[in-house]
């Protein structure tokens, strides 16, 4: 906390003679602009403007641009058509039609997954909502269309191309602890104990929690998965 300062009283309302004569003021102003001009001229590489489109702005690894649908190792979409992103979307721009996947362990998949890029407000809520790490946003912001129909992106336009540079930051995507690149399915070193705060609160209320007591080792791999991993590691 501190006081109040009267900035009006600090600046004299009366101008001096030289200030009233215009010319010194003009010269002074020219000096400031000249300094900027020369500095820019001799450090042209550090100019704040860029020569778009030859030169592109380097956005951060969290940039919220065009969406992609990520894939599993076998090329199928990670999306299980749970509708959570469509539900979270404040602009209601996602359309999903779910289908039954022939492979039993995948259960569901999106037959249709459309995003209307003109409705989208690029808020990233779909990425936050996805429980399967299936939708990310990329650093691609160059979205221009000739008509409205073109702006509705289906799976063909949304599916991630192979060889995505994950390490440099593709764009806005779920934030994992650690180095930020660890995908789901390998969280053995997670610092997070799920549900910890909640359990403590319920306990304070005197609720019996014996059936959910203790998170146990986080996502302990099944013996079969462990054997598989060991085999891969050689």
């Amino acid at each position: 906390m501190s006081g109040v300062i009267d900035v009006g009283a600090r600046v004299s309302r009366k101008l001096t003679l030289s200030e009233r004569l215009y010319l010194p003021g003009i010269l002074q102003g020219m000096a400031v602009t000249m300094r900027h001009f020369l500095r820019n001229l001799f450090a042209i590489r550090r100019l704040p403007t860029i020569l778009y489109p030859e030169e592109k702005r380097d956005y951060s690894g969290r940039f919220r641009g065009k969406h992609i649908l990520t894939t599993r190792d076998d090329g199928t979409l990670k999306c299980v058509a749970c509708y959570m992103c469509a539900e979270a979307c404040p602009a209601e721009c996602i359309t999903i039609v779910a289908g039954e996947h022939p492979k039993i362990s995948y259960e569901k998949y999106p037959v249709v997954f459309d995003i209307n890029m003109l409705r989208c407000v690029y808020c990233g809520f779909c990425v936050d909502a996805c429980p399967k790490d299936a939708i990310w946003m990329t650093r691609n912001y160059e979205l221009a269309f000739f008509n409205r129909k073109e702006a509705i992106f289906g799976i063909d336009k949304l599916v991630a191309k192979p060889g995505l540079p994950v390490k440099d930051g593709v764009g806005y995507r779920p934030y994992y602890p650690g180095d930020g690149t660890r995908p789901p399915g390998d969280s053995s070193s997670s610092p997070v104990i799920p549900g910890d705060g909640e359990r403590a609160k319920l306990r304070e209320k005197g609720l019996d929690l014996h059936h959910t007591e203790g998170p146990g080792p986080l996502n302990a791999p099944s013996p079969a998965a462990k054997a598989e991993r060991d085999r891969k590691a050689g």
Binding site: V7, G8, G29, R62, R64, P90
Partner: protein, 592 residues
């Protein structure tokens, strides 16, 4: 959170019983009660204690109560803050269907109060206008007429404000279907009655009525100014707005609490971060959620950066309007680097959507403190350059000095807040009068001036940039190097992704939050913070549903734009342009 939930449950059981036991009033409400008891109005008002002391009154008594609230030496609620209409059609337990909710502030006593006018059912909703008590009520009443169909007998100019003249119905009533479309043709445009008056039009050839805007470079956004000129001088003016009305309030009623956040970015889009913070603070207060220090400080730092950005844009564009283009480039450079910082935090420059109820979307990046410190180094250089170019420049002095003068009394009567009010000699700053986050622990000064002209506003804004830098520097010093930014209450905040992928319980919390939304206990709340151009408030009503029952932002520039047509009478057109620049009117926020 737990407390908030229990509170909500308790209230519900109270509603089902016959009579609620009388609750002890807070000291402020008790004082108000005593004050009313000592006056002839004592038995005609009901004083309640909600988040603010609340006076409930019938429409017939409203003008007398309004005068009492303004004039009584122990009340002196002279600054009109907000008027929000409420339609209780889907809100059981309220005595009447329509309510007009007023928020007022006392400059001398630094306090807010709420007044509710309960409009009886069975007749058209009607309450006497209080424009004579608070001139600032003018546009607010027009807005309530437009969106709720409230009739204000005695209002000088009761016309639609935000919706166009071919609009049918009142959009914010609960029985208005949002899918309807009303087409507006050019011939539907209604000019003010005086502008069409043939007698006014006749006369000297130098007297004419012109339209400045809606699309005019000087209006910065879409504002239509109808001005009557005598030579160069404006003799009468009226502003018509509504070209950017995007139904923020109606849309938020059909979305969840979190889904409103991206809309908030589009209110004052020059300092989008502050809107988000103001909104989620309201919801967090209703929930009773506490945010970790790191999250709060990150919000504070980015809000102050946004304030700097807002002032840079305002000073820069204002100087462009009066012919000084260079400053614009110098001031846009810090803005550019602040945008870079915001983008590194949340992934977007303008529409940040960074805050969430209960914290932030994601943690700040690792180089957050270093980048912010680098900005603290670079911004003052540009500000100094502008000061060197502008402050003692004779042309600027001639254009800004002595133009657009608003006296202290006028500023209060017109409901000004923020730099506009401070430049007129009232040091009202929400960060000081009701410190939130950590503003009471930082060492900073409220910048004010007494001249009330355009130049004083420029000086106040320039000083506020420096004070904001000072606040950021202190906030960075105490910024925790690590730790959570979000509350750990998973009824409100999404669990960490890592947990969602691998833990059933977390996934359930995640699912409930996405599919059902946050459950905010029923009740109402008005929370206000210092926006870049004044007091930014959010009045929210919850009925325990997934989204707001009613959400009314208090846009700081709304009363200033309303006063614009009075400020420019007698000045020249070019001075009016300079004045419009210093008002800092952001169309997105003005018309929502």
């Amino acid at each position: 959170m737990v407390a908030g939930r229990e509170n909500g449950a308790a209230r519900k059981t109270l509603l089902s019983t016959v009579e609620a036991p009388p609750r002890a009033l807070s000291p402020a409400a008790e004082r108000l009660r005593a004050r009313f008891d000592g006056s002839p109005l004592g038995d005609r008002v009901e004083v309640r204690d909600l988040d603010l002391p609340t006076v409930e009154v019938a429409p017939d008594d409203w003008p007398a109560v309004a005068r009492f609230l303004r004039d009584d030496p122990e009340c002196r609620y002279d600054l009109f803050i907000d008027l929000a209409g409420v339609d209780n059609a889907k809100r059981p337990g309220r005595p009447t269907r329509f309510e007009a909710v007023f928020h007022l502030h006392s400059v001398t006593r630094d306090e807010h109060v709420r007044a509710k006018v309960l409009l009886p059912d069975g007749a058209e909703p009607r309450l006497p206008s209080v424009v004579e008590v608070w001139p600032a009520a003018n546009w607010f009443e027009r807005e309530a007429y437009d969106l709720f169909g409230f009739d204000f007998p005695g209002h000088p100019n009761q016309r639609r404000l935000l919706c166009h003249d071919a609009f049918v119905g009142h959009a914010l009533r609960k029985d208005y279907s949002p899918g309807q479309r009303w087409f507006f043709a050019e011939e539907d445009l209604r000019m003010p009655a005086w502008a069409m008056d043939t007698e006014e039009k006749a006369g000297h050839f130098e007297t004419q009525t012109i339209s400045i805007g809606p699309s005019h470079p000087a209006t910065h956004g879409i504002v239509h100014l109808v001005a009557r000129l005598n030579g160069e001088r404006i003799t009468r003016a009226e502003t018509q707005i509504g070209y950017m009305h995007r139904c923020f309030e109606k849309m938020s009623e059909t979305h969840t609490w979190n889904q409103v956040i991206p809309y908030c970015d589009r209110l004052n889009y020059v300092s989008a971060m502050i809107n988000g913070v103001g909104y989620v603070r309201t919801v967090e207060k209703m929930l009773g959620v506490e945010i970790p220090d790191r999250g709060r400080l990150a919000r504070t730092i980015l809000s102050e950066f946004s304030r700097i950005m807002d002032h840079c844009v305002n000073i820069g564009t204002n100087l462009v309007d009066i012919g000084g283009l260079t400053n614009f480039w110098y001031l846009y450079q810090p803005r550019e680097s602040i945008y870079g910082l915001l983008e590194a935090c949340c992934g977007a420059r303008l529409t940040v959507s960074y805050v969430r109820v209960g914290g932030l979307a994601i943690d700040v990046p690792e180089d957050f403190v270093a980048r912010s410190r680098a900005l603290l180094e670079s911004i003052p250089k540009f500000v100094d350059d502008v000061e060197r170019l502008v402050t003692r420049n004779r042309i600027v002095r001639n254009r800004l000095g002595g133009t657009g003068v608003v006296s202290k009394e006028q500023a209060i009567a017109w409901g000004f807040t923020g730099p506009m009010l401070r430049a007129s000699g009232v040091a009202y700053d929400v960060r000081r009068s009701r410190p939130y986050d950590f503003y009471d622990r930082f060492d900073w000064d409220v910048a004010m001036a007494t001249d009330g002209d355009n130049f004083a506003r420029y000086l106040v804004r320039l000083e506020e940039i420096r004070q904001s830098l000072k606040i950021i520097r202190q906030a960075l010093d105490v910024f925790p190097a690590s730790g959570p930014v979000n509350s750990d209450d998973w009824h409100v905040v999404l669990p960490p992704k890592d947990a969602v992928y691998h833990d059933m319980e977390s996934l359930i919390f995640h699912f409930k939050l996405i599919m059902e939304g946050i459950r905010v206990p029923s009740g109402e709340r008005y929370e206000w913070i210092e926006g870049a151009n004044g007091e930014l408030g959010f009045y929210a009503i919850s009925e325990g549903g997934a989204g707001p029952y009613r959400l009314k932002p208090r846009p700081p520039c709304f009363p200033m734009m309303a006063a614009f047509e009075h400020m420019i009478v007698g000045s020249t057109v070019s001075d009016a342009i300079a004045t419009l620049g210093t008002l800092n009117v952001i169309a997105g926020e003005l018309e929502r």
